[in-house]
Symmetry: C2
Subunit: 343 residues, 2 copies
DNA sequence: TTGAAAGCGCTAACAT
DNA sequence: ATGTTAGCGCTTTCAA
């Protein structure tokens, strides 16, 4: 059995309180006893039981991370990268990370997140994929648990960290128009997510700026997965459109789209230019490397954790809104129409 | 405040014990009272506090997942996919997943895993990246916590789930020799991991079988990252070797290697064939699609959780060893030397 | 079938 | 500077 505080107290002929204080660095315990306590702790390998601590203090030093729901799921590289950075930031701040994965049927996904929030097992939550009308918000507020979204929420008194979705998308599409593209397809995200909306707006904005009329035939929605990007691209091509550029609302869909294009004998960027959004590590290694709007994924993770911890500690009442820059990064997948090289 | 068991008891004029029993489906509580209790629970939204339950029962219904250490980290698609599947399996079985990420400096990574094990916050652990000589094993045994490795361990009384690393690799390299390749490079993994060893053995085995002498000039080690694969490939080429095939010990390194090859004007598969190992989703979308040895990542996740839960419940004393199949899957990145098409 | 009481291991007033 | 005493919310003997 693991030694307990009581064991320590018995051995040292002290009370539990004193031992507890000594261990937590309480200034009103004698230097000498503090040393004795610490030595013994090391000797017998005592470490406090976080469960018991949690029950006593009502703090768990754990943050919940609500990973996205099906179909996107945890396998999306963007979320995995985010998870990694947020996880590291949390650990560094002394917090553990409890995952709230989706349930099998997808339907219960949201309730799983909400359930975790109500379970007293976490001090706060990071949520992903904010919906335009997100039912989780109400439930979370009711649970009086600090939380922060990765992505802008409609509700203004909710904290979030996001990136310049609209601006970044506009820049990307402008990049295409500048190269001389006019028939630019848009692979939008799911209609119910705020990120989809913002990125689509950026697309439209850039078209307006370039004097290109919006052609809804060139727009299709995907679900932010490779398969979704593939299907959306295929759909647009099936409609009989000729396309010279594609703006995909995330990198994963862009990669799926590239696949669909090649399947039809189109080469990239000679026949069609493709740009994505996110800046996932993998996109650099596609052939050709994917032009994309880079989000600072590491910083998004760090800032999300930072905000959440402030909210938890009460250092900040919230709501906190942070927008990080997203910049268009040209790469081999985007070139002038007809195959001119871009450098 | 969340309602407690006491609240429930007060309202119903029952004792905590009875309410607790009713909720846990204890057969010796009257049907009528059970119904009353359940109704009230729903009405006032009572859910048991898992922390308190944990303290009382010494079970947390949580499993710890020790994600790999730097430099591979959580961003490796293979681990992310694994994490997703294992996470889903765990949730389905009623367990939460607590992440034990690496620490910033990398050095403390192992101790972070071990620390979690000793913290009484998890009922068991899934560990990844077994080392040939893995210090964590001793510490975990001492903590008397059930655990299972993803990957074979040297220590035979440790439970693990793995795939046919050696056989799969041999098949892959044999695939290359059959196509007519003789100068086959090997991008090995870090020397201290069991998986690296097994896959390298498979490579050697296939060479022997094909009567090709092992040329150490064609072997270099990478760290299982893209950058590592890139560097290892570059190193082999810098040595002045002519290479017609490459076996990379994982997909991510294979993708990095493809990059290095192309940078030197070599095309795939016309000039060089490349095969990887893992079968990550992304590899299908590379250009050309990556030939690889497919591990059943989903099943690895499920089985790891399954074994761990058996160990936790005591249904099985362990050690349990499960080897899942790994099959070579030809694809566009592997073709006969000189550019013949493979179909 | 139900209740009373004693913990699980810790923290935090409130004494001394 | 240290000890005493209650809990935190739950499960689980042991009684009734």
């Amino acid at each position: 059995m693991r030694p307990t505080l009581q064991d320590m107290a018995n051995i040292l002929n002290l009370s539990k309180s004193t031992v507890s204080r000594a261990l937590s660095g309480d200034p009103r315990v004698a230097e000498a006893t503090r040393v004795r306590v610490e030595c013994l702790a090391v000797q017998i390998g005592y470490t406090p039981n976080p469960i018991a601590q949690g029950l006593a203090t009502r703090r768990t030093n754990t943050i919940g991370l609500a990973v996205p729901c099906a179909p996107r799921s945890l396998s999306d590289p963007f979320y995995l990268e985010f998870l990694g950075h947020a996880g590291n930031a949390a650990m560094k701040a002394g917090y553990s990370v409890l995952l709230s994965a989706e349930e099998e049927d997808g339907a219960g996904a949201h309730s799983a997140h909400v359930e975790l929030a109500g379970s007293a097992r976490v001090d706060g939550m990071i949520l992903t994929e904010p919906k335009i009308r997100d039912e989780r918000v109400e439930a979370l507020k009711r649970a009086r648990l600090p939380f922060v979204f990765l992505g802008m929420t409609r509700d203004q008194d909710v904290s979030w960290v996001s990136c310049e979705n609209r601006l970044g998308s506009a820049e990307a599409v402008e990049g295409l128009t500048r190269l001389g593209h006019a028939r630019i397809a848009c692979l939008a995200g799911p209609a119910d997510q705020t990120a989809s909306e913002a990125r689509y707006q950026g697309y439209c904005e850039a078209l307006v700026k370039a004097g290109i009329p919006l052609d809804l035939n060139l727009v299709a929605s995907g679900d932010f997965t490779q398969a979704g990007g593939y299907a959306a691209m295929a759909e647009i091509l099936e409609r009989g459109n000729s396309v010279s550029g594609v703006f995909a609302s995330n990198d994963v869909m862009a990669l799926g789209a590239m696949y669909a294009l090649r399947e039809r004998g189109l080469s990239i960027p000679e026949d069609v230019s493709v740009v994505g959004f996110d800046g996932i590590a993998f996109a650099q290694f596609s052939t050709p490397p994917l032009a994309t709007v880079r989000q600072p994924i590491d910083e998004l993770g760090r800032v999300a954790v930072e905000i959440l911890i402030e909210l938890i500690r009460g250092d900040n009442q919230g709501p906190v809104h942070r927008v990080l820059p997203a910049r268009f990064e040209p790469a081999g997948s985007a070139a002038p129409p007809g195959g001119g090289a871009l450098r």
